[in-house]
Symmetry: C2
Subunit: 359 residues, 2 copies
């Protein structure tokens, strides 16, 4: 079982730095794009990007099915083609803001992206294979291989039959109109809208139908546990979060923002995998008072919602805070509760800014 | 003047982490690609990615010229079109391996990429503008704006007339056959082959011909200084470096590599902005003994050279080391010398691996 060590020191260990120089978040000014440009989308790769060749790629569908399938990329592309914008977020987003800090990929708040994915729906493929009546889970295996928590493994995650058969679950071979980049799962990946990113298995080689609940390493690693021995709760759908484009301009090293006094349009995006975003509130005084932002239209049901609010900025130091709520009753917490793996950390974003007299 | 603080603690500060989650290196398995896929190429952005619109973009060429120019993207694209592969590396690559560590972007060794850039040569544009006889430097201004070292600034770097007129210096609007991504300088950037990346100004808005040596902030920041008060030496062309694709598979957190015993093909790339790569040596015993790797052909003069060497791996712990030399007499140092800003840190790469009995 994955059992990360905890660090009290706010400074980040060399091991965390190794992960942070490989994986990366979306710079927050990237929130200005409806569709996140390739390469700005967040990326978390557990092991290495595997070497793959699309010509030779085969997806196997087997296990408790009536007819096992072996599908090449061209055969998949001859099936129904769908294009869908999906906001993906890492389940560990926000982890580096916890104290003590679970030692893993040290995300602040930027592990998100909204891309346009093209592929084919999964459900018809499962129907063609014909799941036996006793099937409980579908196990998705990626070509990425390594060791985690002392266990050598191919990256594997599962979905229940009901979740796997959802009509928006797809196998994707293109992102933003281009063939998948190697680091995003080329040539084929699973895409499960609304769920945290660990579910959308990259470099997908196999779907196995199994008669028992799958309890592989990555299923146990992505559970929200109060402490190391807590059985915990599965991490599944994305809790609401809102992020703003930090206004003004940054200091290179501290990233402190300077804003000119006067009317400032604060803008950002909000999303939830658990319901529709119904409210985004913005505070410009560190959370003492709040104003409702104006929500834009959500272009499609599986992507983020733009929002904006005007701020009459007066000189001085201010802390901007933003908080989203969905129609399932989920609201971003003001203070971050703690859990052992640092998952689902969706506390509000705080952006300190210095307002200077207008030019 | 930029004067980074120094840290003795090997753990990385929250400010460095903020930079590491925005900027990113090339995962070393990316060395397997002749041309680095978009989004895997290293990225260092001092301030924010600016919001730009290619339709409205104008490049101004002015200052000490006989006829100032204002060029839109279409006008530039009607000029001579060249496509060139260029290996770019950040001048601060390797900084996080220094003790004490200059506080800035905390690179390990992965701040590199080799892309295929399309644009137009700079020299004919400068000839069309007509440089006055007293011009000393060309100052290149980007649209990125912020504060560094207490100084508010647009990002600016200069080249001497002789360096700017080199035939391989270009203004680029495409990368790997696609319009520039926002984070790589869309819609237009400077590209100076052989030089560290800070010279290749992104989001290029202006080229000004000036009669004096330009000593803007980013010129002083990129000097190799022995200590804070040292006048230092300009950082210009890339010193040789070689990196290998770490063999075997990684541990998620420690990134320790496991390799099966037997014949292992070690592969990588080497580059220098100061001469041709003439030698890559590989050690599998921590630097005690060395073997020459076989160099592949360098496809074009401005990009990296592939190399490979076979290793008969026997069970146990090993440290792989790789070292490149160019025909100008530059060799990667075994131990890293120190400098105040952490620039030109091209000491050899070390890759610890555990070899287990073959399967």
């Amino acid at each position: 079982m994955s059992d990360p060590s905890l660090a009290e020191d706010p400074n980040v260990t060399p091991e965390e730095l190794q992960l942070a120089t490989r994986n990366h978040g979306m710079p927050l000014e990237g929130l200005r794009y409806d569709v996140t440009p390739a390469g700005m989308h967040y990326l978390l790769i557990h092991f290495d990007v595997p070497e793959t060749r699309s010509e030779a790629w085969r997806l196997t569908v087997d296990g408790r099915v009536r007819s096992a399938l072996g599908l090449g990329l061209r055969e998949l592309q001859a099936l129904e083609v769908v294009t869908r914008r999906v906001t993906l977020e890492c389940a560990g987003n926000g982890r580096a803001r916890l104290t003590p800090r679970p030692l893993s990929q040290p995300w602040l708040v930027e592990a998100v992206g909204n891309a346009e994915w093209t592929g084919t729906p999964l459900a018809p493929i499962l129907r063609e294979a014909g799941l036996e009546d006793d099937v409980v889970d579908l196990v998705f295996t990626g070509a990425d291989h390594g060791v985690q928590g002392g266990e050598e493994q191919d990256y594997q995650r599962s979905l229940s039959v009901a979740d796997a058969m959802q009509p928006d679950v797809m196998l994707a071979w293109a992102m933003n109109g281009q063939p998948l980049l190697p680091q995003h799962g080329a040539p084929l990946r699973l895409l499960v809208p609304g769920w945290y990113g660990m579910t959308s298995v990259k470099w997908l080689t196999r779907i196995e139908a199994v008669p028992d609940r799958f309890e592989g390493f990555q299923m146990l690693a992505y559970r929200r546990r109060d402490h190391a021995d807590d059985e915990g709760i599965d991490v599944t759908r994305i809790f609401p979060r809102s992020l703003m484009i930090p206004p003004g301009f940054p200091d290179f090293f501290t990233r402190t923002r300077t804003v000119d006094a006067g009317r400032v349009e604060l803008r950002g995006r909000a999303w939830s995998g658990r319901g529709r975003i119904i409210r985004v509130d913005v505070s410009t005084d560190g959370g003492t008072s709040w104003r409702a932002a104006t929500l834009g239209e959500q272009p499609t049901p599986t992507e983020w919602v733009p929002w904006e609010v005007e701020w009459d900025a007066v000189p001085g130091e201010h802390e901007l805070v933003v908080r989203a709520a969905d129609d399932a009753g989920n609201v971003q917490p003001i203070e971050q509760s703690w859990n052992h793996h640092g998952l689902e950390n969706n506390a509000v974003q705080r952006v300190p800014v210095i307002v200077r007299p207008g030019p």
